[in-house]
Structure formats: structure tokens, C-alpha cells
């Protein structure tokens, strides 16, 4: 457990507190399989906060806002630690944005965004227990489980 933590990378990002069942989803949405960077994946680790959690460490990689937005949709409680020179430079907890642009596909096949070259825009409703996305164009609502990344 200890040696799995930050010690392994000189610089890069550690994504911690990923719900156990979402680890592979995070790998997929960030396309880490095709990454040139070293990626360490820890799954089903014991966690006080989440009971079972996952950790992903990516060397030489600092995620951009739209990538962090993606993470927030599948792992809203995740934390991001930025490592430089083996030191923790910055620690942040991902935040679900109010609006998601461009990264999610609308699941309504009759939505104009699936027929024309348009950047999708969803308004995020986090008031309800599970996260919901409402398409700005067709006004249809998607549940968290229905989210498909473009």
C-alpha cells in the first residue's frame, strides 16, 4: 500500500479516491491504454473513505480541464495530486462543472448534435442524488449510467 503511493513517480499526476468500480472507466475515458506515459493502476485497495478504492498514477502527465471534467463525471469524489520532483505540488478534489462542453455524446439519436458537426453542451444537475445531464439542444435528460463520451 505505502509503496504504491507517490514515491514511484518523479513527476506526473496521481488520481486517488476513485470508486473501485470506476477505475477502469477512468482508464478508458482518459485513453490511458494508448498513453505513452507510464501508467500504474491500483484497483480494489482498502480505503477508509470509500471502503474499496482505486488509484491511477500517470508519469509526466498533467491533466487539462476538459480531462478533469471527464473524471468528475465517473468519479465525482476523486482527488488529483500533482507531483514534481517527487514532491506534492498541488492537491485538488475534482469538481463537477455546471456545464459540460464537447466531451459527452447525446444519447438521443434524433438530437441535432448527432447529425451536424456541433459541440455538445450539457447542463449538469447535481441537486438530485445521482448526477443528471440535460442536453442544451434537445432538452433530453441523461442519467449518469447513460453517459457516453465522444
Amino acid at each position: 500500500m505505502k509503496e504504491l503511493r507517490v514515491s514511484a513517480i518523479e513527476k506526473g499526476t496521481v488520481i486517488d479516491h476513485i470508486p473501485a468500480k470506476s477505475v477502469m472507466k477512468v482508464v478508458k475515458i482518459l485513453d490511458l491504454e494508448n498513453s505513452e506515459n507510464t501508467v500504474l493502476i491500483g484497483a480494489n485497495l482498502d480505503s477508509k473513505k470509500l471502503v474499496k478504492k482505486g488509484i491511477i498514477k500517470v508519469s509526466n502527465k498533467f491533466f487539462k480541464a476538459h480531462e478533469i471534467n471527464k473524471i468528475s463525471l465517473v468519479a465525482p469524489e476523486a482527488s488529483l495530486t500533482i507531483i514534481k520532483n517527487f514532491d506534492v505540488k498541488e492537491k485538488t478534489i475534482v469538481k463537477v462543472p455546471k456545464q459540460i462542453s464537447g466531451i459527452v455524446k447525446c444519447r438521443n439519436s434524433k438530437c441535432i448534435t448527432n447529425h451536424e458537426n456541433i459541440e455538445t453542451v450539457f447542463n449538469v444537475d447535481t441537486d438530485c442524488e445521482s448526477l443528471k445531464l440535460k442536453c442544451k439542444y434537445c432538452e433530453k435528460v441523461m442519467e449518469k449510467d447513460e453517459i457516453e463520451f465522444s
Partner: protein
């Protein structure tokens, strides 16, 4: 409302809805005011909808306006693969306002983002048809002299009926009570029931039309399509209870009126037409006045 697009019914506030109705009443008294003679309005029907198109074109023509456009996309460059973005950008140069009907949900919102002129949504797929909602509101107001504290019965396909959903949202601002009459699998969706609950409005879901007739001020009928039923015998069972006949109205209140977005098939018997209770043809005519009001407010010709 000057220079604003009308895409969804919720784009305009309750006060703005009332303003449109007030102006529609002015046009009902005089629908031939020559105020549009200097304007060109594009009417882009990417899918045919004769009723809606004629209503818009009639509204505009009566005010002296000029119309350009197409009645179905098959004869245009759209067929050659032109994007909606390019069609709208181009037509923006030719007209002061665009009225559009399109088969895809959200197309009107997208058009309003790329157009240099305001857009009026005349129906985007199964999503919105705000001018229909406003003419329904106007018809309710004309028959009841108010929109407040009414009891409205919605009958038919309440699950897929876009006109019902929008009208419900609009009427929720007026403290109305609702009866939803439909076979269980075509009942009003959960999200609208939640919406009404959260607003603290009273509503009931029922399956028999006769239970609500004595209670309602407005009976809003919609079409039930036979194709919606997977079991034909189920259709035979409910069919009769949703075919409104003149005799069924004997228990109704004096002020009660029957509305229908048209076209009807067999959900209202023709013997209702001249019973004094059938308002649907006047309702369709009201669409002209309401559309005149919307167009003149958006073009800034009326305040």
C-alpha cells in the same frame, strides 16, 4: 422580446406570455394591419407541416409581409448535403426573421446560435412547438376569460404528446388543477408529475374520460394512435372511452370547452362540432393572431 428567438416555451416568462396573448387579442379585432410591408420573413420547413406553415404564412401575409422559403427540404440544397449551419447562415442574409420547422430535436436552438436574425421554432422533432402552446393558452383564455385557477383535463396520448407537455409547463404558472386521462402506458411521464408535485399543484391520473367531464373547464383532447398499442385488443378496449360524443358532454359545466391541436382522427365525433362545446376550429384560427403577435413583438413593431 425584440430580436429574441422563441425556441422553447420557457424562454419567455409568464408576463411575456400574457403580453403575447394581449397583443393577439388586438390582432383578433384587426388582423389586417399593414405593419409588415417592409419585412421579409423566411419560412423554412425542412419537413412538411402544412397546418403550421399555412397558419404562419397566413399570419404574415395578412399583415402585408413578404415570405421566402421552402415547404419541404427535398427541393433545396439541403438535399445536396448542405449543413443546417450553412442554410441558416445563408438565409439570415435574406430575411429579417426565420420561422423554421425541422425533424431533429434541438435544431431550432442550434439555428438561433448561428443565425444573425431571430428564429421562431415551428417545431423541432419531438422537442418543442412553442407557438402551438401559446395559441392553446390564448384559446383557454378566450373561452374562460382567465387562465387562473382552472381545471384542465388532458386526454389521449399523454406520454408522447409534446403539445400536452409544453401546455402543462405554461399553465403551471396559473395555479391550475389537472386531470390526466390516458391508458396506463400512455400516462403523463413521471418527470412532469414530479414537476407538478414540486410546484404544489393538484393533479390526478385516471383512465376514464367520463370521470372528469363534470369537473373540468377545458377538455384538451389529443390523438391516440393505434400503432402505440402492442396488443390490438387493448386498443379495442380503450378506443370507445376516448371517443368523445355529444352525449358525453351532457354532464359538463356550462363554460366547458373542448380543445384539440388537430388533426383529429376519431377521438372527437363530428356531432361535437356544433354542440357549442367544440372550440378546436376557432383554436386553429387563434393560431394566426397569436403568430401575428409573436412576429410583431420580435420584430419590434409592437410593444
Amino acid at each position: 422580446m425584440k430580436n429574441r428567438s422563441l425556441i422553447s416555451i420557457n424562454d419567455f416568462s409568464k408576463e411575456e406570455h400574457l403580453k403575447i396573448l394581449e397583443l393577439a387579442a388586438e390582432f383578433e379585432k384587426d388582423s389586417r394591419q399593414q405593419i409588415l410591408t417592409k419585412h421579409v420573413i423566411a419560412s423554412l420547413f425542412f419537413e412538411p407541416s402544412t397546418r403550421t406553415r399555412l397558419s404562419f404564412e397566413s399570419a404574415i401575409s395578412m399583415l402585408g409581409g413578404h415570405i421566402v422559403g421552402f415547404t419541404d427540404a427535398s427541393s433545396t440544397s439541403v438535399k445536396k448535403g448542405e449543413s443546417l449551419r450553412d442554410t441558416i447562415k445563408t438565409v439570415s442574409n435574406y430575411a429579417d426573421l426565420i420561422v423554421m420547422r425541422h425533424p431533429f430535436d434541438g435544431s431550432a436552438r442550434f439555428a438561433s446560435e448561428v443565425a444573425d436574425v431571430p428564429i421562431i421554432n415551428a417545431g423541432d422533432g419531438s422537442n418543442q412547438h412553442p407557438t402551438q402552446t401559446l395559441l392553446d393558452l390564448y384559446s383557454i383564455q378566450q373561452t374562460q376569460n382567465t387562465l387562473e385557477n382552472l381545471t384542465i383535463g388532458f386526454v389521449g396520448d399523454l406520454k408522447y404528446g409534446r403539445t400536452v407537455h409544453s401546455l402543462l409547463m405554461a399553465l403551471s404558472n396559473f395555479n391550475c388543477k389537472f386531470h390526466f386521462v390516458a391508458p396506463s402506458f400512455l400516462q403523463i411521464p413521471e418527470q412532469y408529475q414530479m414537476f407538478l408535485k414540486n410546484k404544489g399543484l393538484e393533479f390526478h391520473t385516471l383512465s376514464n374520460i367520463h370521470d372528469v367531464i363534470p369537473d373540468v373547464d377545458i377538455l384538451y383532447m389529443t390523438r391516440i394512435q393505434r400503432e402505440r398499442f402492442s396488443d390490438p385488443s387493448e386498443y379495442e378496449k380503450v378506443k370507445d372511452s376516448y371517443e368523445l360524443k355529444r352525449d358525453d358532454l351532457s354532464t359538463s359545466k356550462d363554460n366547458m370547452q373542448v380543445l384539440h391541436p388537430l388533426p383529429r382522427v376519431n377521438e372527437i365525433n363530428i356531432d361535437v362540432d356544433d354542440s357549442g362545446k367544440g372550440y378546436y376550429f376557432q383554436q386553429a384560427l387563434n393560431g394566426v393572431y397569436v403568430r401575428q403577435a409573436i412576429v410583431s413583438l420580435i420584430l419590434g413593431l409592437k410593444k
